[in-house]
Structures are given as structure tokens and as C-alpha cells.
Amino acid sequence: MRNIPISALIGLVFTGVYFLMAIFAPLIAPYGLAEIVGDVWEPSSSVHLLGTDSIGRDLLTRMIYGGRTTIFIATAATMLSFTTGAVLGFLAATVGGWVDQALSRFVDLMMAIPSLIFALVVLSVMPVTIPVLILVMGLLDSTRVFRLARAVAVDITVMDYVEAAQLRGEGRIWIIFREILPNALSPLVAEMGLRFIFMVLFVSTLSFLGLGVQPPAADWGGIVKENKDGIVYGIAAALWPAFAIATLAISVNLVADWVLNRTTSLKGGRGG
């Protein structure tokens, strides 16, 4: 852990700060989430560091709670998409035959429709609640994880140690979790970073369109929606989420790059 490159360190620090802010939001936030504490769109001052929002709530408080919602939904959806995608991908690779064909062709079909459009179609009949959002986003995104997991696992299933495990009489579950998973972990972890960012962008977009997190709960996309009318009058309140999302995305990217480099170099040369 001593040789962390500076870029990965910056990424780790920022990602850590965002996650800590999300976890301890109620302790850090200076005011209550829905508390009206000032005038409409006050400029930043010592009392309100980022100013106030469209109905006089403290913007910093909203941003902290918003980060909590956004990061929570993105994390949960990433977990869901990884579990479904990876398990189905490994299953397709190990079982092969018609199971592989059916799953792969279905995933091709799902990916033929843009995910945002398909999410909108589904959300038009579903109640828009946080569990439904996580479910829709996670399942739609698991198609991409499925492709990666299957591609990686197909290469691993032909290895000698997998054959040895099969001859030894291990079951399919054992082979998937004890033989394939540990060896497929590094590309999957790197991909997880990218998927997480994509989820943050996805949920922000849905909330901005009014089809994600519903008020009075805050999330970064929703904050843009609430404050967008101020932009025409030169009030930059709606632009803070841009800053937050961009820094989070870039720092997670830096960490993912590092994880990928580190694990691949481990494979290449010992001790290097």
C-alpha cells in the first residue's frame, strides 16, 4: 500500500470524503433537510456557505443530503447489477449450450434499446420510488456486466484448474464461486468503478427529468431541477451538483484505473 501513485491517492481521498459525507450526512449538515432558513437564492455567506436554494433552504445541507441519496442509490444499483450480471454471466459461460445462447441473445436485445429510453418506458407505469429506481437501473445495467463477466469467464472455464475441479466432482456453484470468481475479480472491480459513475449520472438524469427521486427528498439531479430557473438570472445554485458529480466521477475513475493497473501488474511479474 506504500506505492500508491499520487493520482490514485487523490482519487481515494475524494471518494472517501464523499462516502463519509454521505454516511454522516445528518451530523455534518448545518441545517435540517427541509428547513427554510433564509431568503430565496441568497448568495453565499458565512452562515450559508453555498447560499440558499429556490425556496430558502440551505444549499450546502441540500447538497450533503443529496449526495447521500445519489450515492446510496448508485451503490445499491451497482451492487444489484453486479450480482445479477456476474452470476448470470458466469452461469452462461459454465453451462454453455442453449442457456448461454438464450441469455446472450436476450442481453443483445436489451442492449439494442437505449437504457434511458427503456427506463422511461418502464417508469411510465411503475410507481417512482427508490426501491423501484434501484431495481430498474440495476437490472438494465446488468446487461453490460453480463457481457464482461461472460467474456472473462469463458477464458477461465477452459483452464486446467477448472477442469481439475470438475473431475474432482465439485458442483457448479463451487466452480463459479471458488474457481472462476477469484480469477475474474480484477477486471470486474475496475468495471465496477465505471458502472458506479454511470449509475450516478443515470439517477441524476432521471431525477432531473422529474422521474427519479421525488421531492422533498434531495438528490443532485433534483437540486438542479429545483434551482434551474435561477440560472437565467445569473444565480449559479443549480451548478453546484455539476461540480460534485464531476469530482466524484473523476476520483472514482482514478481509483478504478489504479485497481486495474495494480491487479494486472500483479499477474504479470511477481513482486513487481
Binding site: 439494442a112 417508469l123 449559479a236 466521477a249
Partner: protein, 318 residues
């Protein structure tokens, strides 16, 4: 049969098959749910009479298979049904909006495609030096921000601070082409920013791939200038991957349009779709979903076909 013709007709057939399956998926996505559609449209407090009326209107009393084939049959004949919210014919209200959206996407493509290819070539020419690093840095930043926020950043800095162009893009039939172009300047700019990054990165990667071939080394060794090597030798061989990249990004543009239209209050398909999702107007959402999926699948199919046609090994079989 000529192998190219065979491959192309296979792609066409595959595209059509995919489109039909996508229509099934869109239909299923709005139908098979816990509870029924009428209930979730009207909410928990709906009276039984209202529910029964809506069910009859949506044809929910028929089995799903019948409903799907009725819907598909009508859609193939250009009848997309009527909107629940205002009772208007969907095909007519969609026609004008589709035109507006294509107008916006067309100009975004006209600007972004040559620009992306040029910048991609530039990045390859000055690989690992500051122009390349600058281009990659800007690309990473623009990929990390969602489209709608790029939109508002542009509105804030260009429309409000600098006072150029208007922050809403209203267009109507009475406007001349120049007025229309002026109105859509900002949304086009945002869309260009959104797709430019992806397109440039992929162009760069495609050309770099070609640059490693033996004939490029030969061209370099016989003393050609580096721009000549890239334009005369690398570029023609990178056409097929680049066309692929361009088509993929145009497909991406189709989705980006949805969000950008909402930001700039532009009367196009995206705005139409988002409005009606919020109103839970299922027939409109299905119709829009079908059109978007059709455009997306169509562009991907064209990308496949062009890359088949651009491959000389397939054009002149041994």
C-alpha cells in the same frame, strides 16, 4: 450469391428481427407488472368506475397477446393510437416533433463528425504531447458530467454571462432557416460537446490501431511527412472503424437529445416523451419508445453494413 450481398442481407434481416423483438420488449415493459396499468395511472384513490372505463379504453380486458398484435398491426400501418391525456392522434403530434428533433440532431452531427475526426487525427499526430494530453483531459471532464449539467453550464456562461444566444430554443414554422439555426445554436453546441468526447477517443484509438501496421512503417521509412502518412495511408484503412464510431455516437446522440431538449425547452421528441412519462400516458410512451428504439437499431445496422462494405477483403473475395 456475392458474399457481400449475403452478409448485408443477413444484417438487414437481423435488424428487422431485432426491431420486432424490441417492440415486444417495450410492450411487455409497460404491461406485465404487479398490479395493472389502469391502477397505476389513476393512483390508489381511483373509483372502480373510472378504473373500468380506463381498462376498456386501453383494451386491458383483452389477453396480452391480442393487445400486442393489435398494437403492432396498427403501428405498422402508421396508426400509433391516441394520447390518453388529450385524446389527440399520436402520429400527427409526433410527426412535427420528430422533424424538429432530427433537425437538431442533424446539425449536431454535421458539426461534430468532421470536428471529432480532425481532432482525433490531431491527437494521433501529436501523440503523448500536449495537444493529445489536452484533448484527453477535456474529454475525461466532459464524460464525467451528465448532459443536462453541461447544458446548464453552457446556458450560465454563454447565454447569461456573455449574453450570446437565448437560453431557450423555441422554434416554429414561421422562422427562416437562419433564425432557426440561431435559436438552436446552444443545444447544438451542447450535443456537440457530449458526443465529441466519445467520438474523438474512439477515432484516436482506431487510427492508433492502424498506425501499428507494417505498411505504415514502410510509409514512414520512405520519408513521407507524418500528416501524409496519416491521411493517405492510415485514414483510408481506419474508415470502417471510424464509420462505426460515428454511427454509434449518432445513436448516442439520439438519447442525448432527450435530455438536452428538456434543458432548452425545445419542442422535440425527447420533451414529448418525458412529459408523457410524467403524465403516465402509456400509448404515447410506447410509441416514442418504439421510434427511439427504431432509430437506434437502424443506425447500428447502418454502421454494420458500412463496415462490411468498407472492407476490401469482403468486396473482392478470392
Amino acid at each position: 450469391m456475392h458474399p457481400v450481398l449475403k452478409l448485408v442481407s443477413q444484417r438487414l434481416a437481423l435488424g428487422i428481427l431485432l426491431l420486432f423483438s424490441a417492440s415486444v420488449l417495450i410492450f411487455v415493459g409497460t404491461q406485465i407488472l404487479p398490479g395493472d396499468v389502469a391502477q397505476s395511472i389513476l393512483g390508489q384513490s381511483a373509483t372502480p368506475e373510472a378504473l373500468a372505463n380506463l381498462r376498456a379504453e386501453l383494451g386491458l380486458n383483452d389477453p396480452p397477446m391480442t393487445r400486442y398484435f393489435n398494437w403492432l398491426y396498427a403501428a405498422l400501418h402508421g396508426d400509433l393510437g391516441t394520447a390518453l391525456t388529450n385524446g389527440q392522434d399520436i402520429a400527427t403530434s409526433m410527426g412535427r416533433r420528430l422533424g424538429n428533433t432530427l433537425f437538431l440532431a442533424f446539425w449536431a452531427a454535421v458539426i461534430s463528425v468532421p470536428l471529432a475526426i480532425f481532432l482525433g487525427l490531431l491527437a494521433v499526430r501529436y501523440r503523448d504531447r500536449w495537444p493529445d494530453k489536452l484533448i484527453s483531459g477535456v474529454t475525461l471532464a466532459s464524460i464525467s458530467i451528465p448532459e443536462f449539467l453541461i447544458g446548464y453550464l453552457v446556458v450560465y456562461f454563454v447565454a447569461v454571462k456573455l449574453g450570446w444566444f437565448s437560453s431557450v430554443a423555441m422554434i416554429n414554422d414561421g422562422m427562416s432557416l437562419l433564425e432557426k439555426l440561431n435559436a438552436i445554436a446552444l443545444p447544438v453546441f451542447v450535443l456537440v460537446l457530449v458526443v465529441l468526447a466519445h467520438m474523438m477517443r474512439m477515432t484516436r484509438a482506431a487510427i492508433l490501431n492502424v498506425m501499428q501496421s507494417a505498411y505504415i512503417e514502410t510509409a514512414e521509412l520512405k520519408g513521407l511527412s507524418s500528416f501524409n502518412v496519416i491521411f493517405r495511408h492510415a485514414f483510408p484503412n481506419a474508415i470502417s472503424p471510424i464509420v462505426n464510431v460515428v454511427m454509434l455516437n449518432l445513436a448516442y446522440l439520439v438519447v442525448g437529445v432527450v435530455v438536452v431538449e428538456v434543458v432548452f425547452v425545445y419542442p422535440g421528441m425527447g420533451q414529448y416523451l418525458v412529459d408523457h412519462v410524467a403524465k403516465r400516458d402509456v400509448p404515447v410512451v410506447q410509441a416514442c419508445g418504439l421510434v427511439f428504439a427504431g432509430v437506434y437499431i437502424g443506425l447500428n445496422m447502418i454502421a454494420d453494413i458500412v463496415s462490411i462494405l468498407a472492407n476490401p477483403r469482403l468486396r473482392h473475395p478470392k
